[in-house]
């Protein structure tokens, strides 16, 4: 089984392979697609779901992009391995909860296709940093390649047909994972969320729908999929992300200026706490790592340390901590282990200096 391989492999989001950026952690494109003539997974009988999985996995494995890909079937994975994949955003909670789902994950972990989730196929492409066009381009190529080998459900009037009316049309969900400590500290996040909602964009927490925004990390995505071209959807999201990034920087600069020494003090305390804590809960770690990321962005810590902070945010999640420990741990055990990993990783971090940004 390859969840261990997935954990061990270096990839864009956990290692400094792609361009890491302040504010935008990653860009994601998701396309919902279905096969013609077969019921959607939620309504399909078990043999039909098997047929869907066989057809889709077969077509995916034949694509060059998925050469030597990880093929993971949910029925063959234990709870912890499934949770690791969810924490990495390689599969959704819904896929992990069912037995008939599968995922085909490219070697470099930038592309993952979920099979038998709400739709037959959920194509996902993720790049570290803000790369809307590049990410879209990869998804488009994958979509074309799959459309060439599978007969996809499509109507001239409604576009790509999906199980849920909120995905029909382009089936496209484009999103950015953004780190907004400045707007959160300044108390502007509610206002920003409302403005985005009113203009057709959804704001969610770190792990998507129904999750809290631990560590000031939010996912911003388009809501409408019908009646807008892919180009228009990307442009709309892109415009707003640029706007949010600008506002975030304004909030950060204002905070740093107004608070002066207090600003650095707050971030320094987080580093001190992370370096000496013996028990660290997941949300506590996320919130303090958020401060370290902010410190890297603002020049209080060397910028090249940022990727390590990003990695700790991902690997500090409960299933990752247990997978690394190679055993099931109770909540105290996880907090102890998480604290040890963080302490070790931060032991040679330099002290903070006043902001330069």
């Amino acid at each position: 089984m390859s969840v261990e391989d997935i954990l061990a492999a270096e990839n864009e989001l956990t290692h400094l392979l792609g361009a890491q950026q302040a504010v935008v952690l990653s860009t994601r494109i998701r396309l919902a697609r279905n096969l013609e003539g077969l019921p959607f997974p939620g309504w399909a009988k078990i043999p039909q779901r098997k047929e869907i999985a066989d057809q889709c996995v077969g077509a995916l494995e034949a694509l060059p992009k998925f050469r030597r890909a990880h093929v993971v079937r949910m029925s063959e994975l234990g709870d912890r391995d499934r949770a690791v994949l969810v924490e990495r955003h390689l599969v959704s909670k819904e896929l992990a909860a069912g037995k008939s789902g599968a995922a085909v994950i490219s070697r470099d972990q930038t592309c993952s296709v979920m099979v038998n989730e709400e739709d037959h196929l959920r194509i996902q492409v993720v790049k570290a940093g803000w790369h809307l066009r590049g990410t879209w381009h990869i998804a488009e190529q994958l979509d074309d390649a799959l459309g060439g080998s599978l007969k996809l459900a499509f109507s001239d009037r409604l576009g790509f047909l999906t199980a849920c009316p909120t995905n029909v049309g382009t089936g496209l969900r484009a999103s950015a994972m953004v780190h907004l400590p400045g707007l959160c500290l300044a108390g502007h996040m509610d206002k920003v969320s409302r403005a985005l909602n009113q203009d057709g964009l959804a704001v969610r927490g770190w792990l998507g729908e129904g999750t809290e925004a631990a560590g000031n990390v939010f996912q911003i995505s388009n809501q409408q999929t019908l009646g807008l071209s892919e180009e228009a959807i990307l442009k709309h999201l892109g415009g707003w992300i640029k706007n949010v990034v600008e506002q975030e920087w304004n909030a950060r600069r204002k905070l740093a200026q107004e608070e002066g020494e207090k600003f650095v003090d707050r971030l320094s305390r987080s580093l001190g706490l992370l370096r000496s804590a013996r028990l660290l809960t997941s949300s506590e770690a996320m919130n303090m790592l958020s401060h370290l990321r902010l410190a890297c962005d603002m020049g209080c810590l060397p910028e090249e340390r940022r990727h390590l902070v990003d990695r700790l945010m991902i690997e500090g999640q409960p299933a990752h901590v247990q997978a690394r420990a190679g055993q099931e741990l109770d909540s105290d055990g996880r907090d102890r282990r998480r604290a040890a990993v963080v302490r070790e990783a931060l032991k040679d971090f330099p002290d903070l200096v006043p902001p330069s940004a």
């Binding site: 019921p39 996809l152 459900a153 001239d156 199980a163 029909v168 382009t170 009646g227 807008l228």
Partner: protein, 160 residues
């Protein structure tokens, strides 16, 4: 009353009668002694359950010939049964799409394996839209180019 009321949950004679007012709407639930005790008569879930039972009881009016999914299944799950359901439930979905989506018709990509005719039709729609825009924007050069393209596509469609 000639006929005694039946329990909303089990069809026994109802002896407990509850009314609840939520947002100005009155919901009445009738329960037998046993169900009232079991469910906890004051439990709001009882109202919801009874509500679901009473609204779900009418027979389905639409059934997808391809997969057997009904309009009642859709109301319960909020998801469709198969791609053909989009045709079966077209009218029901039309209203919903106008609420949750930007426009009720697709203007994006087509599958790589789609029929050439479908592609032409979509390009025709796009070109017509672009031409209108060009005319409004007084870009007559672009409008003329699009008019020629439209004529070519129309001819291709007529002969295909």
């Amino acid at each position: 009353m000639s006929q005694p009321l039946k329990c909303s949950l089990c069809e026994e004679a109802a002896t407990v009668h509850l009314s609840q007012v939520v947002h100005g709407k009155v919901t009445k639930v009738h329960l037998c002694e046993a169900c009232a005790q079991k469910g906890g008569a004051m439990d709001p879930a009882v109202f919801q359950l009874a509500d679901a039972l009473t609204t779900a009881s009418p027979a389905p009016t639409l059934i997808c010939p391809q997969c057997g999914f009904t309009d009642i299944d859709f109301r319960k799950r909020g998801r469709l049964g198969c791609p053909s359901c989009w045709e079966t439930f077209g009218d029901v979905l039309g209203g919903l799409l106008r609420k949750v989506q930007h426009e009720p018709s697709h203007v994006g990509r087509t599958p790589a394996g789609a029929s050439p005719v479908g592609r032409l039709r979509r390009r025709l729609d796009d070109a017509r839209r672009e031409m209108e825009k060009a005319i409004t924007g007084e870009d007559y050069e672009a409008a003329a180019r699009l008019r020629d393209e439209i004529a070519v596509i129309e001819q291709q469609l007529a002969t295909s």
